[in-house]
Each structure stands twice: as C-alpha cells, then as structure tokens.
Assembly symmetry: C2
Homo-oligomer: 231 residues x 2
DNA sequence: TAGATTGTTAATCGATTAACAATC
DNA sequence: TAGATTGTTAATCGATTAACAATC
C-alpha cells in the first residue's frame, strides 16, 4: 500500500499542499527576477545558484531553496536555464497575468504610482483613479481618469476589479477600505499608515513608510550616540 | 577576575551590548506609536499590553517584549503611562531628533515624498532635492530647491547631511549611491528596485515596491487558480 | 487579600544554514 | 572518472508564544 500512495502522489502531480511560501522568499523572488532579466539582456543562458548568490549576496543554498518554490528543476553541474527561470518566477508571482486595479487618492503619492509605467510590465494595470476632492475629479493623471469616489463600488463590480490601491490620507483610508470591501475587491495595497480592518477574505499588504523611517532614524540615532570611529 | 568583569558590566551601565533590536520589533514600534498618539488625543492616560494587543491584533506578550526595548518599565496592574510610552518610543526611534536629508530624483515619487509634510513630525527634514535633468534644476518642489546633482557632495559635507533618499530611476540609482557615499552620507533610503553596492559603514534601507507587488499578485494568482469558495 | 498586569525563563515554531547524497 | 552543482535531510539560529513568578 505504501508504494501505491507514494506512486499516486508522484503521478497525479499538482495535487496541492503547495507548501505556503515564506514571506522572506517572496521578497527575494523579485530580486532574482530582476537579476536574471539583466543577465538575459547581457546574453546569459545558464546560471547557477552559486553565481546568483555570489552576485546578490545570498548563500547559495538559500537561493536554491527559494527557486525551488517556482517548481522549476535545475540540472546538476549546469544549473538553471535563465529564460526558463525568468518564466517560472513570473509564473509563480502571477506577473504574466494582468491585474486590473483601482487607485484611490489622487494626491502626490497616487500620482507617482500612476506615473510608474514599469508596473504594467509586471501585470499591474491601474485602470482608473478615484478621489473625493471635487477639484481633482474629472481631470486625467498619467492617462487615467480621476473619478468620484462614489462610483467605485459599482464600477469595480462591473469591471471585476480585484485589486485596490489606497494612497488616500490616513484618516480616509479606513472608509476607502470599507468601500473596496463592499465592492468585492480581493486585495488591497495600502500606503496609509493604518492597520485596516477588513473582512478576513481580503488580503491587505501595508506599505509602511513609517516603519522604514523608524529603521533609518533609529540607526542614525544609534550612530550619533556612539563615538565616531576611525573611518 | 571573572567577578570584576561582571561587576563592571553591571555598574558602568550603557556600556554597550544594547541587545540588537529585531527587525520585526522595529516595524511594530511605529504602529504602537501611532496607536498611542491617537489614544492620547482621546484622553487616555494609562494603557496595558493586553489592551494594545487586543486593538492592534498582537499577542499581549509580544507587545510587552517589544516595548521593553524602549527601556521604559511598566507597572504591574496599571500598565504604562501613555505619555511616557510615546516619549520612550520616539526617543528610541530617534524621532525627537532632527535628521536633515537630501533627496535625489525629483520625479513623481520624489515629488510625492517632498510633499509628505507629516515626515517632519518624525524628525525627517528633507532640505533639498537634486536632479540631473536640467529642466528640473532651478525649480522648487513643495518649497524645496531642485539643485544640480553635481552639487550634492560638496553641500552634503558642508551641511553635515547624514541621510540620503534615492527616488531616481533604477539605472541611475547606483551612481547616485556612489555620490552619496563620497559625500559622507551615513544612511540611504532607497526607492529604486536595485540592491546598491555601498561601503559597509553605510546603512541602506530598501523600499522595494516590487516585493510588495509580488506579494499581492502572487496572492491574487493563487486565488484565481483555486475554485471560488462559498462567500 | 485577590486580581490584573508586568517581566522573565522555557518551549515552540519557522527560517536559515550546514552537511551530504544524487546527478550530470 | 572527477568536479560542480542540484536537491534533501539535519542542525542552528532567532523570533514568537507559552508558562509562571513577581508586583502593585
């Protein structure tokens, strides 16, 4: 019987138990991707974890573990085929599928994100912006219409939008999130420094600039305190 | 001799070994801070880890461990004095000291960050912007001059600038970092999706939007694949 | 005193790293 | 075959959580 089970596991494939990926690996995959794309541009065909690790300052075995999540097997002695690996990472990250998104908050940050054309290379298409400020509504920012916030739920449903980006001011963020939840949006990229309260099925990713600032100012404060060492 | 050493360690205090703070704790401290400031605004005087944990969705003991890094002791039964705790966190993070910074790359993102007035409440004062684009040089963005990139090293030295913010395009980021290193800058907040090569004494914090995007698109792809469950 | 809370020490968990067998 | 590399299993490390004593 034991043989039976192990066989069926091997044969049926893609069974499931995809072995949830660690956050840390997920953060590194885009780095590998970026590295590999550049390598490819320079004509690189094959690559080993040893080399990737050396260039990116990771231990080789960590690179190997990370890449295993993409499901692409490498070849002993030669390593991975660069083109395949790029594909595998993009596939794993969902970067070869289009994600249409709505952005709320057409202020400075919202404008910056709308202007970031590279995102579309990674499947992120921001199709419209929303704002509650009447003076902004009706304008166009980097080719996208700025619509009144009230229109979001209806439009999101009709267009089956699954991703929402919040670049609204802190105080408005929660109510925007509520609107998005109501609109059936499935994931939120939140740039406001608040922990949003949303239904459990909605995935929230917080882009917390204040956490970054903390890390930087803490480091600088620590250095000021310490006596200056010989440079 | 052994006794001697342990005594001196205890007595002299502030000796060192400040027990390096975990990254994760550092990310949470600003959240506590934000929560406590709001609490204070509503007139809260005392607070317990139990309550903080409940409101912020952390386990109480984790909150306690995190807060211990600030060095402020709580009182059994009553918890912490809100005002003291806010102070202690700000002090620990260096948010009550002024950090003057230079920003390089006056594009969309740079403009957004220059426009983010709240940063100054956390000690971050961006005093000038730099760009290599001659059409931008000479203009003012959110009250700050845009200067030619070549002027950065000299000015940074003269003004003892310790923090640099990179919002330049990916290709330019490394050379900007080189310039900053040359200018004696001690910490870099890097918004470009590249791993910068800098001397070991420079602290780099990467704000990696593509890592965030990976996390979001991966989650969405995973949902699309799976059959829709009962909502 | 009883109860809520802090602070601390031990157990658990997950991610990183090390060791090594398998493979081309 | 020898050597570089992958893939896997075990050891290590660090952070989270649990258990509990100390304190007001």
């Amino acid at each position: 019987m034991a043989i039976d089970i192990s066989l069926s596991n091997k044969q049926t494939e893609k069974q499931e138990l995809p072995l949830a990926i660690p956050q840390a690996t997920l953060r590194r995959l885009p780095q590998y991707h970026h590295y590999l794309v550049q390598l490819q541009a320079r004509g690189g065909k094959q690559i080993s974890c040893t080399t990737i690790g050396h260039d990116l300052n990771f231990v080789a075995v960590q690179v190997r573990k990370d890449l295993q999540y993409t499901g692409l097997p490498g070849k002993p002695k030669t390593g991975y085929v660069v083109a395949e690996l790029v594909q595998a990472i993009e596939n794993f990250l969902g970067w070869n599928k289009v994600n249409e998104a709505f952005l709320v908050g057409a202020g400075n940050l919202g404008t910056a994100i709308l202007g970031h054309e590279k995102f579309s290379q990674y499947g992120l298409h921001i199709v419209a912006a929303f704002d509650s400020d009447a003076t902004k509504v009706g304008t166009r920012i980097h080719g996208r219409d700025v619509l009144p916030l009230e229109k979001l739920p209806n439009l999101a449903r009709r267009m089956s939008i699954r991703l929402g980006i919040i670049t609204a001011p802190t105080d408005a963020a929660q109510s925007v999130a509520n609107l998005m939840a109501e609109a059936g949006i499935q994931a939120i990229w939140n740039f406001a420094p608040v922990r949003l309260k949303v239904p459990a099925e909605i995935f929230v990713h917080n882009e917390d600039l204040y956490a970054s600032l903390a890390s930087l100012s803490c480091k600088l404060a620590e250095r000021l305190g310490a006596p200056v060492r010989n440079l």
